[in-house]
Subunit: 376 residues, 2 copies
């Protein structure tokens, strides 16, 4: 198996080596303890101390031009992976699904058979160890405390002319995000973004900020931190409101709360993730709301469920398995989110998301934060 | 041109669409204003508001199974890119160097000629506009203020038994990183990591933390923030010391300061980046220190220059062009770092890094922070 890439965004290589590195490295994994990690001179000393592999070798050993000699990096990387294959006498390699086409083409021109695989480490990474669950729980706990900070700010705000106000000025998404992220940082966590978005803008599920924070309309707080040392993620969403929401919004809330509970209740080993998804869609159907899957798509409604029910989580925020229309049977040790939502362009979005571990008898919920919609 | 990927880590797609999205999208760019962005139902509403493209289309339009129906995501993505090619009647596509091999193979099996290119948007992205330089300057300014916070903490510490001490306990790398990153966050910036590492551990250039912060040995502070809205990066390094360093360390400092100035002096349009790199190596040679390139590799010395002199910066922290042995002629509008360093396993590392814009007459230095080594 030949892996290529930096490890901030190639979790398979991070998983295999435990080595966080901002520039591409090459890993040769023959399935045993003799895994070889090829790094530049810059990283050699650190790799010898930090990487969990059989052997660290320096690309200086290989008789190739400096990796970027051509001006274009990929010419250099192509020469590097070809030289590594030659050094290890590899005539055929399995590569990750994301292995760059330009490198595969170059290897093939040099008579190396390149076989992309979409399941490298997939099963191993999917079933979390007790240690991994501990790391994820730790991140999730930090996330909950951070999310609570945003709730505290919202709860303490005044309502003036339909907007939330703090210290005499309009409360903003940026204020809430700062409350969340500064707390995360204080606990050794970080994130790529945070969603603190209220009102109509929150009907786009991944919109992070709204123009203002309105009273009477939902405020979606979706927090997804990672631990800066372990690199394991957490993920959770709560939706809250200040002031009196219109009856349509309360109907949406009731439906989402019930759908999310139905999703949680459906999670256990042996169940198809698709049936967890359908359990949520079914509740929405009973409340008159449409969802994406074919049988539910034709239900006419302003508010709709426009994404999957959840996803695996670990070294990636979104990883295998997806809880959607995908055909995948849940197993003990899966760590997945359950996060149905409804989105109405007029009123905004409501989403509730918990992170759970699949256990022998069902699941254990790592997200213990109360699901309180109305803060007053 | 066919682009595929999420945009947190595929800067070409972010550059072309201005749309930040955590799950893969597909872009068809024919070179005109009719660029089409294909997104999931989840992202459709937000893409219509936020993406700078000719047209946004929903993957729901395509008669394909849900992208993850097979359980494995890449089967779904393969079906998606193939359907997009069919919809646009594309028999041949240029793709990015990083286009996944598994998708290229699938397209080729479906009679689409896939031509990986290593230079997509390279020239356009390389030459920064006034707006981009403004964004980078803004990030750099926030980074300098954050780096100064770490310097302030170091300057205010006491020295006890050879270690830096604050509030009665040993000052740690984590304390310094928190000072840096909490300030970044406050200014709407973020980062993936920060290097605040002192003593022998800092002889690994990318090591972020040391066990303790020692007096008399160098402390490397390398800060690389990005603006959470514009997504443009900054990058800078200062090295400082408290207490009296050994003469070897002072010799290293003098050489690095001189080498960095030689690098800065060499930067102007028409110069080969490799000659900027050699200018630094040459100064090190005069001081008796070895570097990576062949002519300098054989110089025997404990402290050595073990990386390139710099790199382009923009939507990526490390982007084209590299200032190393790569053969690349500098142009007006390049934004590059100049960051030679020396690394001694016994004493640690010393690196000085400025970020500069190549101008008609030379370069303009965006990193105006003083280069003060000894803080007392």
């Amino acid at each position: 198996m030949l892996l290529f890439g930096e490890t901030y965004h190639h979790p398979n290589i991070l998983y295999r080596t435990g080595f966080l590195v901002p520039d591409p490295v090459v890993v040769v994994d023959r399935g045993g303890v003799d895994t070889v990690l090829w790094v530049s001179a810059l990283e050699e000393g650190r790799a010898r101390k930090q990487a969990s592999v059989g052997e660290v070798r320096s690309t200086m050993e290989l008789e190739i031009p400096a990796p970027r000699a051509g001006g274009n990096e990929f010419d250099g990387w192509a020469a590097l992976v070809t030289a590594v294959c030659r050094e290890h006498s590899l005539n055929a390699v399995d590569v990750d699904a994301e292995f760059p086409t330009v490198l595969a083409d170059h290897l093939r021109q040099n008579d190396v058979d390149v076989r992309p695989r979409t399941d490298i480490y997939q099963q191993r990474r999917r079933i979390k160890t007790a240690q991994e669950i501990e790391w994820i729980t730790s991140t999730e706990n930090a996330g909950m405390a951070a999310l609570q900070k945003a709730i505290d700010v919202i709860a303490a705000a005044e309502i003036r002319d339909g907007l939330l106000v703090r210290d005499g000025r309009n409360l903003s998404s940026a204020d809430l995000i700062f409350a969340v992220e500064s707390h995360l940082l204080d606990k050794g966590n970080s994130t790529v973004d945070s969603i603190c978005c209220g009102g109509p803008e929150s009907s786009d599920p991944h919109r992070t900020e709204s123009e203002v924070i309105r009273a009477g309309l939902p405020i979606v707080l979706d927090i997804y931190p990672f631990d800066k040392r372990t690199r394991y993620w957490g993920d959770m969403t709560r939706t809250v409101v200040r002031g009196t929401p219109p009856p349509e919004v309360m109907r949406m809330w009731d439906a989402v709360l019930e759908a999310q509970q139905a999703g949680l209740d459906a999670v256990r080993p042996g169940v198809n993730g698709r049936d967890v998804h359908y359990a949520c869609c079914e509740v929405f159907k009973q409340h008159g709301y449409g969802s994406l899957p074919k049988p539910y798509r034709d239900i006419q409604s302003d508010a709709r469920f426009i994404h999957g029910t959840g996803h695996g989580l670990g070294l990636e925020i979104h990883e295998y398995p997806r809880i959607s229309e995908a055909d995948v049977v849940l197993e003990v040790g899966d760590v997945i989110t359950v996060e149905p939502g409804l989105y109405d362009p007029l009123f905004g979005g409501i989403r509730i998301e918990d992170l759970v571990v699949v256990t022998e008898t069902g699941c254990r919920n790592l997200t213990t934060l109360a699901k309180t919609f109305r803060l007053d």
